[in-house]
């Protein structure tokens, strides 16, 4: 698959839900051309290797801890992604770092890897996002769509929200976007 959009995070841990929720919104609000695959990766590491290994371009969507205030949009690419997961800026550092290393080890590292995310306000055990992150979600959704278009793939706003029969919509119903 030329482009993989991988949403990472635990939906039970407050703002950590950013990755899966952005995925759900992209699925319901946008139409993607052939060659773009959206995957809700949860908090997994090595089990996602097959998805990553088949991608030419990978866009990781995650909560990213930096010094900036909650809700700040963060974009990292190239070596900065590896450094970020190694330095534990991404809150799924172990899984993501091991996943990227494993892809390198088996010689299947994507041509490009970009990390897009928001600085979380709270990642404690609760449902629902903090106000700052909730307000910034739409911006992150649009940033991912721009990223897909910049790679030369189609990604346009749907005329209406899709019906919700895809598996990921169960997630939206359960956890609310």
């Amino acid at each position: 698959m030329p482009v993989l959009i991988l949403g990472l995070g635990n939906v039970l841990l407050g703002d950590d839900a950013v990755g899966p929720l952005v995925l759900a919104r992209l699925e319901s609000e946008y139409r993607f051309g052939a060659g773009v695959r959206l995957v809700d990766g949860g908090t997994l590491g090595l089990a996602l290797l097959d998805e990553l290994a088949q991608a030419r371009h990978a866009i990781l969507v995650d909560a990213v801890a930096t010094e900036a205030p909650p809700g700040t949009l963060v974009r990292l690419d190239g070596e900065a992604v590896r450094d970020a997961v190694r330095e534990r800026l991404s809150v799924h550092q172990v899984g993501v770092a091991d996943l990227l290393d494993a892809a390198r080890l088996i010689g299947r590292y994507p041509h490009s890897v970009v990390l897009l995310g928001l600085v979380p306000g709270s990642i404690g055990l609760h449902l629902g996002r903090t106000a700052a992150v909730e307000a910034a979600l739409g911006g992150l959704v649009r940033a991912v769509a721009r990223e897909v278009r910049s790679l030369g793939y189609e990604c346009s706003k749907s005329a209406r929200r899709s019906g919700g029969d895809r598996p990921i919509h169960a997630l939206v119903r359960h956890f609310g976007v």
């Binding site: 770092a97 494993a102 390198r104 598996p167």
Partner: protein, 569 residues
């Protein structure tokens, strides 16, 4: 005396912290603490019980299926519904695939490097490695050229300083004992296992609509349509694909994983008498073989007391109670009481130190895990418990045959299984038992299609109006790490109370009201530690339980000065 501390760094499922006293080169006492509250039970109260699985399956960042299975079984038990045969077969396949996948990843990617020295592997002779590999198994990838290529590839990565995955280990530690050739063989299989696991777990995507976080679970059955001719369902094409993936799995586990474990074990036989710990074992059993209310289970249930394999008692859930004497919770009935999960309480009361801290006060409460006990006794759960029950029962099973063969090959008595290495060997043997059994369930599905039985859900109890006003249910499952139970109380169609007792709580829980240590704590007693600033041996024993919690180690000497800090999981 040296004080050794294992400390958390990630939040995937919870944090694990181990504190140990080391004296005369051995651990004298150890304490296991989870430093993260996981009160998912509170999130579930008041919700529709048919939705519970979608929440619970996100509890664990490692096993996505296990809490979904336990949850739907608990709700089905409460409302009195039995899934049809197709759903039973699909669930057995999903559970077995999860276990096999997890066991392979655990051995190669989370545990092997405690026993395999990568730096030593880089100095191995590829020709000698090929000879060694060929003597152990007829696996085709065992040529000199192959091992030479693996060595050069990994060398290049290490020299470029790229390999975080191999960083922070204790390369060159005196407790590493494999010759360079065995290290190189294991390293090659580490890489092959990466590729194997990514193919094998496609089974979950086929059966679950997506992976991770399968979407095909349903109270009363499964949401996967079964129809030999339809496109968007389990059909003859998917049966063919499953056959192929299962055959690949049998191949890898029986010709690579099991031979590797036995070969590595033969260099570390002293570890068959280290890490024994708690002498009781509990298996709920799993993999129903028929559709009756009390089906025969392919992996049997049973309780073992005091390592006595001749007396396997049956499991009675009313004997399970959780204690909070050393846990950061309060019980309304008093903190030294034990509560059965049906009457369980989750009232957090954190009294521990504010992180970062040097030491826990282990005289008081010191963990977010409760202390589950069976009839008052601590229990080990996991592959070893399951394999011991199967081995002890007086009936022929594949598990019994494979355990006997492994013991013979290693020239070890059955008592060798009660050990750190026993837990590792049992996990490998169980992977083989389960991956072989998957073929039987795939054929079961094919037979169902042939006789045109496409039923996938019992909908007779879907509507809450069909449920009793007040009902209780317990759902049991054997997850990769061991016995998992969910208990639910449903009132007026909503969840009134929910409790999960997870494998890592049985194994990693703290001392109870009577001061009895949990399995991690007990197993560490007597573990040798050659270099307290590099506690490799402690990691071997903790990792042998397959902790679901990632953690880090730092070591503190008697003056409590931090000596080292590394990631261990």
């Amino acid at each position: 005396m040296t004080h050794v501390v294992v400390d958390p760094i990630t939040r995937i499922e919870g944090h694990l912290r181990i504190e140990a006293e080391v004296e005369g080169g051995k651990v004298t006492q150890a304490w296991s603490s989870s430093t993260m509250f996981r009160g998912v039970e509170l999130i579930l109260e008041g919700r529709d019980p048919r939705d519970a699985w979608a929440f619970t399956q996100r509890i664990c960042g490692v096993c996505t299926t296990v809490h979904a299975i336990a949850s739907i079984r608990a709700v089905e038990h409460a409302i009195g519904v039995t899934p049809p045969p197709n759903a039973r077969l699909l669930r057995n396949l999903i559970i077995a695939a999860q276990n096999v996948h997890d066991h392979v990843i655990h051995f190669y990617h989370l545990q092997a490097l405690d026993w395999v020295d990568i730096v030593s592997a880089l100095s191995a002779d590829p020709a000698k490695t090929a000879k060694l590999a060929q003597s152990l198994s007829d696996w085709p990838l065992s040529s000199t050229a192959y091992f030479s290529d693996v060595r050069n590839r990994v060398k290049a990565f290490v020299e470029r300083g790229q390999l975080g995955i191999f960083a922070n280990a204790y390369w060159g530690h005196p407790a590493y004992r494999l010759p360079p050739e065995a290290n190189l063989m294991a390293l090659a299989h580490y890489l092959e296992a990466l590729d194997f696991q990514r193919r094998f777990i496609k089974i979950h995507a086929i059966l679950g609509g997506k992976n991770p976080h399968l979407q095909s679970f349903l109270v009363g059955g499964m949401a996967t349509p079964v129809d030999p001719d339809a496109q968007a369902s389990l059909n003859l094409g998917t049966i063919a694909e499953l056959r192929k993936l299962v055959a690949e799995g049998v191949d890898f586990v029986s010709r690579v994983y099991v031979p590797d474990v036995l070969a590595i074990a033969s260099f570390y036989k002293d570890w068959f008498s280290i890490g024994s710990g708690v002498s009781n074992y509990l298996s709920y059993g799993d993999f129903p073989m028929d559709d009756s209310p009390h089906p025969v289970l392919y992996i049997p249930s049973g309780v073992i007391h005091a390592q006595d394999l001749t007396q396997i008692a049956s499991v009675d859930q009313t004997k399970i109670a959780e204690y909070v004497t050393h846990s950061w919770y309060d019980y309304t009935v008093g903190n030294d009481a034990g509560l059965n999960p049906y009457h369980g309480e989750t009232n957090p009361n954190f009294t521990g130190p504010k992180p970062p801290f040097k030491r826990l006060n282990v005289e008081e409460k010191y963990s977010w895990l409760k202390s589950p006990r069976y009839d008052g006794a601590p229990m080990q759960v996991g592959p070893l418990a399951r394999m011991l029950v199967a081995y002890g029962l007086n009936r022929p099973t594949r598990a019994k045959t494979l355990i006997a063969a492994a013991l013979k090959q290693l020239d070890a008595p059955p008592s060798a299984l009660f050990s750190t290495l026993g837990r590792i060997a049992a996990r490998a043997i169980e992977a083989q038992v389960l991956v072989e059994s998957m073929g039987m369930w795939v054929e079961g599905l094919a037979d169902q299609m042939a006789r045109r039985d496409y039923r996938i859900q019992d909908t007779s109890h879907w509507h809450p109006s069909t449920w009793p006003k007040d009902c209780f249910g317990a759902g049991f499952h054997e997850a990769p790490r061991g016995a998992l139970g969910h208990w639910v109380h449903i009132r007026d169609g909503k969840i009134a109370k929910y409790q999960c007792v997870v494998p890592s709580t049985w194994n990693a829980g703290p001392r109870d009201a009577h001061g009895q240590p949990g399995p991690y704590e007990a197993s560490l007693e007597g573990t040798p530690v050659a270099k307290p600033d590099q506690p490799l041996e402690i990691l071997r024993t903790v990792h042998s339980f397959d902790p679901c919690m990632a953690c880090g180690v730092h070591v503190v000497d008697a003056t409590k000065r931090e000596l080292a800090r590394v990631r261990v999981s």
